[in-house]
């Protein structure tokens, strides 16, 4: 796990605007948390958790209201491109949550208590292992017998597990869309 014990981490920190000029989805991981990872002159900021070799793994643990601010999906792309598969927080901003789910990055919302426990466990032992299971919707630390359930939109869960596609799903209903368009009270 990689802990960033800060609240309100906004998408401008996850991927600063000046790196949004690419027209493809790949390669954003390089600039993930750019200004927290590196100084203006490009030197590594040792104190930032992503630069700490003790913290490893595919799970990012962050303070409440993670992903607030801009709707840039580049934030989810950057996290996934960097290698994260799961983000744990006690609260996610809506648009970020949707973007993450649309990119196979699992946002897991846990209670504030559980989150604080995680932070202190990682503090005591940076190599603490946590297991996240989408099927049973649980996160657990086996060794300590610590478990917590999490919620996920059932549709999104199916998508993540079975690889559904929103566009295919809606395109299968084009005749309904046409009926809707011609039948409504007021159209623009």
């Amino acid at each position: 796990m990689v802990p960033i014990n800060m609240e309100n981490i906004d998408t401008d920190q996850i991927i600063p605007a000046r790196f949004l000029k690419s027209t493809i989805r790949e390669g954003f991981g390089e600039n993930l948390f750019r200004d927290w990872r590196f100084t203006e002159t490009g030197e590594m900021r040792e104190e930032f958790p992503l630069n700490n070799p003790l913290y490893k793994g595919k799970i990012l643990v962050a303070g409440k209201n993670f992903g607030c601010g801009s709707s840039r999906e580049h934030a989810a792309w950057a996290l996934a491109d960097y290698g994260f598969e799961v983000v744990i927080s006690s609260f996610f901003a809506d648009i970020f949550k949707g973007n993450a789910l649309n990119n196979g990055l699992l946002p897991i919302q846990v209670s504030e208590d559980f989150l604080q426990t995680l932070f202190s466990l990682i503090d005591q032992n940076p190599e603490t292992l946590l297991e996240a299971d989408l099927e049973t919707q649980t996160v657990k630390i086996e060794k300590l017998g610590l478990t917590e359930k999490f919620e996920i939109d059932p549709y999104k869960k199916t998508c993540l597990l079975n690889g559904y596609d929103d566009i295919d799903f809606i395109l299968a209903q084009t005749s309904q869309i046409a009926t809707y368009e011609s039948g409504r009270n007021y159209s623009y």
Partner: protein, 466 residues
């Protein structure tokens, strides 16, 4: 059953509902810009499908564009490529583009309303969180990610879970010098930058009713800064007067039908809201932010909170924020020297904002050490400002009127606040580095920003008004 305005618009746009699935929601108008659309078009190419209803998507170039010499090719390579890519995509997929040089060009949330593309009762989306702005017209308007942009291009619909609805009522008379920007900064400072997360907000109350359309847009614009998906205000005479006779506003029969439709766009009296908050206009003073999220705001006449007012587990984030800003807990911001003033962004770059600023600075001169930029929200706003002679008033006061775009709101172009410098900005976000790496942002109203430019420091604008 009694319905809120939000329920009414939502329900009228549901194409299909299936248990266990989100609603298929029909989208009337889709706006796109150069930054969040290229990967969506790429997706369509991969699927080998066209844009489903190309006439319902409108494009503009705003985030990345320079604000001087817009007639010349964009110097910065990547920015130019991104803008060129938008042109290419719009041509290939048959979408109207109001790009650089076009008389309709401007910030996407400024041009939609001013062109009559934003109308009451619509569903509107855009790959941009401040799409909430359009809610001022009584629409359901919200920001989406690029995968969803692709979804709307491909189907004119979105799979969406219906969010709960919150009502925020503001009643009473505003004090002199207090603008709608202060109302929304006040609300966010009270409920926090996550206080609205998950909700759609309806703003109501007589204070809101008495606001102009421009002022209402400023409020709805910043709904996202409290975490809400969007914000909306029931349409009324003010709305109708604003939309009438605009470029794309329907005429003739269609207009009469629209007026009829607008009549139905009100929340029922006994409609149920999942949450209700109330504010008093008299309690609102000119506001300023001191931290690195929009919830960290205070009345200029008061001090930055001290640690006693902050929950213990937030102390670290709070201190980190103040360190970044170079400020101290418990101190007053009044008198703090500043370096830049930025009047612009989809929050406050409309003609009314420019008029207010021009009226305020007329006959005054900006402080010598301050750089003051005014970036109009659109070509039309710019032309209007020139037609009204605001440009010369602003120029004599030492303000630089630039060409339209997002500019220093997110500093994707050259308009950056240098590291460590302080900027009083009428934009909507004070995140670390938002206006340029290590820049420091104070969010405020256009009047407060203008007063700061004149004084060279943060002042309570009420000192200028008697």
């Amino acid at each position: 059953m009694a319905k809120t305005l939000f329920d009414k618009i939502w329900d009228a746009h549901v194409v299909s509902q299936k248990s266990g699935f989100p609603d298929v929601l029909y989208i009337d108008t889709h706006f796109i810009h150069e930054v969040t659309s290229p990967q969506a078009f790429e997706g369509l190419r991969k699927r080998n499908i066209p844009v489903f209803r190309p006439g319902q998507t409108k494009a503009t170039a705003d985030h990345n564009v320079p604000t001087i010499n817009q007639h010349l090719p964009i110097k910065e390579n990547l920015s130019r490529l991104q803008v060129e890519m938008l042109t290419k995509n719009c041509t290939e997929f048959g979408i109207d583009l109001y790009g650089l040089g076009h008389p309709f060009q401007g910030i996407v949330h400024v041009i939609g309303p001013e062109l009559g593309l934003t109308l009451p009762g619509m569903t509107i989306v855009c790959g941009d969180s401040h799409t909430s702005t359009h809610g001022a017209f009584g629409c359901i308007a919200f920001g989406i990610g690029t995968s969803e942009v692709e979804e709307v291009l491909a189907t004119q619909c979105l799979l969406q879970q219906k969010p709960p609805c919150m009502k925020i009522e503001v009643n009473g008379k505003l004090q002199k010098g207090v603008l709608s920007k202060d109302i929304i900064l006040h609300i966010i400072s009270k409920i926090g930058s996550a206080g609205g997360t998950g909700y759609f907000v309806e703003y109501a109350g007589d204070t809101i009713k008495n606001l102009s359309m421009e002022a209402r847009m400023t409020i709805c614009n910043m709904s996202i800064e409290m975490g809400a998906r969007g914000g909306l205000i029931a349409p009324d005479e003010t709305t109708i007067t604003y939309i009438k006779d605009r470029e794309f506003t329907p005429t003739g029969n269609k207009w009469t039908q629209l007026l009829d439709h607008i009549n139905s766009l009100q929340s029922d009296n006994d409609a149920h809201y999942d949450k209700v908050l109330q504010f008093n206009a008299e309690d609102i003073a000119p506001m300023i932010t001191y931290g690195t999220n929009p919830g960290m705001g205070t009345a200029i006449s008061e001090s930055i909170p001290d640690f006693s007012g902050i929950p213990e587990k937030e102390h670290y984030s709070f201190q980190k924020s103040l360190n970044y800003m170079g400020l101290e807990a418990g101190k007053s911001l009044s008198g703090k020297s500043i370096d830049y003033v930025f009047i612009g962004s989809c929050t406050n770059s409309r003609i009314e904002d420019l008029r207010l600023v021009a009226e305020f600075v007329k006959g005054k001169t900006k402080s010598e050490h301050v750089t003051a930029w005014i970036v109009p929200g659109s070509k039309q706003v710019m032309e209007q400002a020139i037609a009204e002679g605001l440009d010369s008033i602003l120029a004599s006061a030492g303000f630089e009127l630039r060409e339209p775009g997002c500019s220093a709101c997110l500093a994707m172009n050259e308009d950056k606040i240098p590291p460590g410098k302080y900027c009083v900005s009428t934009s909507n976000r004070n995140f670390e580095g938002r206006q340029g790496p290590n820049s420091r942002t104070f969010l405020a109203s256009p009047l407060t920003a203008a007063a700061a430019a004149i004084s060279g420091k943060i002042v309570d604008v009420r000192e200028f008004i008697d």
